[in-house]
C-alpha cells in the first residue's frame, strides 16, 4: 500500500495508463525500482527533472502535473487527500492546495471531502464579497 500522497497519485496515473513499473521506467528513462519506491513512499521528493520525465511519460494534464509537483515539495501531505483527488476529478488544484495546507486544532479531523466542501463554500462567499 502506498504510504505517501505522491505515491497514491503516481500509482493511480500509472495504472490508468496501464503501465507496468518496467514500462513506465523505460518510457521515462528512470529506474523501475525507483518508481516503485516513490509509489510505496520509501522515497519521496523526486527532483524536478525526474518529475518532468514522469509527467511526460504519463501524459499528465496540468492539474495532475501541478499536484505531483506540489506533493514532491510537500511530502507531509496526507495520502487520504491524494485518494480524494484521484477519485474526484472536480477537486481543483486550488482547492487541493488549500486543503493540504490547512491547519487544525482539536482531537477530531473532518474527512477531506467535507474539508473541500467547506473550502468551496467559503471561496464562493469570498468571491461574492
Amino acid at each position: 500500500m502506498p504510504e505517501s500522497a505522491l505515491g497514491v497519485l503516481l500509482r493511480n496515473l500509472r495504472e490508468r495508463r496501464q503501465f507496468s513499473y518496467r514500462e513506465l521506467a523505460q518510457l521515462a528513462d528512470l529506474d523501475h525500482a525507483y518508481i516503485y519506491r516513490l509509489e510505496t513512499g520509501s522515497k519521496e521528493s523526486p527532483s524536478p527533472e525526474a518529475l518532468q520525465k514522469l509527467n511526460r511519460a504519463l501524459k499528465s494534464d496540468k492539474r495532475e502535473s501541478d499536484m505531483l509537483r506540489f506533493l514532491a515539495e510537500h511530502p507531509d501531505t496526507a495520502p487520504a487527500l491524494a485518494t480524494l483527488v484521484v477519485e474526484d476529478s472536480s477537486v481543483t488544484y486550488e482547492e487541493f492546495t488549500a486543503a493540504a495546507g490547512m491547519a487544525y486544532r482539536g482531537t477530531a479531523r473532518p474527512d477531506y471531502r467535507k474539508l473541500v466542501e467547506r473550502i468551496r463554500r467559503i471561496a464562493a462567499e469570498d468571491d461574492d464579497g
Binding site: D76, Y104, R118
Partner: protein
C-alpha cells in the same frame, strides 16, 4: 523555534495591533486581514481549522463550542500563520499534551500570549487573591476558557504556583510559575493524582468547601523541601476534568534542599569513640 522566540513574536503582534480591547480577537483579525467563519457542522473534537486563499487567511471555528474555547482556537490558528508553522498531528495520542507535536505546543504558547496579553493580564493576576475564584473572574473578563486562564495565571504569577489539568484522575499536563520552576517543583504528566488532594476529593463526589492544605511532596516529584501547599480546584463531572491550582501559603518556597552536612548530622554515622564496632564485644573478650 523556542518558547522565548514564540513569546517575542506574540508580543510583536500585540505591539503592531496596539489594541487595548479585551478580548482583542477582532483587532487581530482585522490586522491580519483574516476572516472568521463559525461553522455549525464540525465534529465534537474538531476545534477549528484555517487555510489561505488568495493571500487571505480564513479561520473556521466550531460553533457548537463555548465562545471562550473558540477564542483560544482563533488565536491558535493565528499562531500557525504568524509563526509560519504547519499543523503537525498524529505524533501521539490526541489527549496527551506531552506527546503533542512541537508546532502545536508553540501555537498554544503563542495563543495564550495574545489571548491573555501579559501587560494587561499580569497586573490583574498579581492583585488577585490566589485561587480558582480569581481565575474564574479573569476568565470572564478576558473571555477565555478556565483551563487557558488557569494555566496562564500560574505561569505569570510571581509567587510559586502550579496549575494542573487532570482528566479521569490522571495528570494531563501542568504549568508552573518561574519561582516554582527554579525550586524544582515538578508534576509528571500521566501520573495519578494524590488521593489526599482536593482534586481527588471533588472527583470522589465530596462537596467543595474551599481550598485545602496538602503536603507539597504529595504533589511534587522528588520534592526534598518541606512545606505545605494550598490547593484550590474545580471539577467538571460531566467531562471528568479537574483543574487544580497549587501554591504555598506564605507565597514563598520553603527552605532549600538539605545539604549533605545536614543529612549527615541527622542520619549519618555515629561519632568515632575509639571502639571498633567489629568483631562483636563477646568475640573480642575471648
Amino acid at each position: 523555534m523556542d518558547e522565548f522566540s514564540v513569546v517575542m513574536k506574540a508580543r510583536e503582534l500585540l505591539r503592531a495591533v496596539g489594541t487595548t480591547d479585551i478580548p482583542p480577537i477582532e483587532a487581530y483579525l482585522k490586522h491580519l486581514n483574516a476572516k472568521l467563519h463559525v461553522e455549525d457542522d464540525m465534529e465534537d473534537g474538531e476545534d477549528g481549522s484555517s487555510f489561505e486563499r488568495n493571500g487571505r487567511l480564513h479561520i473556521c471555528v466550531n460553533g457548537n463550542q463555548a465562545p471562550e474555547r473558540r477564542n483560544f482556537t482563533i488565536c491558535h490558528e493565528i499562531a500557525h500563520r504568524v509563526l509560519g508553522l504547519p499543523s503537525e498531528h498524529g505524533h501521539g495520542p490526541a489527549w496527551s499534551y506531552a506527546h503533542k507535536s512541537p508546532n502545536e505546543v508553540w501555537c498554544d504558547v503563542f495563543a495564550a500570549e495574545i489571548l491573555l496579553p501579559y501587560p494587561r493580564f499580569k497586573p490583574l493576576v498579581e492583585k488577585s487573591i490566589i485561587g480558582m475564584a480569581a481565575v474564574n473572574t479573569l476568565a470572564k473578563q478576558f473571555q477565555a476558557s478556565l483551563p487557558a486562564t488557569a494555566s496562564r495565571f500560574a505561569t505569570v504569577l510571581a509567587a510559586p504556583c502550579a496549575y494542573v489539568m487532570i482528566e479521569q484522575g490522571i495528570v494531563r499536563y501542568s504549568t508552573r510559575s518561574t519561582a516554582l520552576r527554579s525550586a524544582g517543583g515538578w508534576i509528571s504528566s500521566g501520573t495519578a493524582i494524590p488521593a489526599e488532594s482536593l482534586a481527588a476529593q471533588l472527583r470522589a463526589g465530596k462537596a467543595y468547601q474551599g481550598e485545602i492544605e496538602i503536603a507539597a511532596d504529595l504533589w511534587f516529584d522528588d520534592w526534598r523541601r518541606s512545606g505545605t501547599l494550598l490547593e484550590d480546584a474545580y471539577h467538571n463531572a460531566s467531562w471528568d476534568q479537574t483543574l487544580s491550582l497549587l501554591w504555598f501559603e506564605d507565597e514563598e518556597i520553603p527552605g532549600g534542599p538539605r545539604t549533605i552536612e545536614q543529612e549527615e548530622e541527622e542520619m549519618g554515622l555515629a561519632e568515632l569513640d575509639g571502639v571498633l564496632p567489629w568483631p562483636g564485644r563477646s568475640k573480642r573478650r575471648r
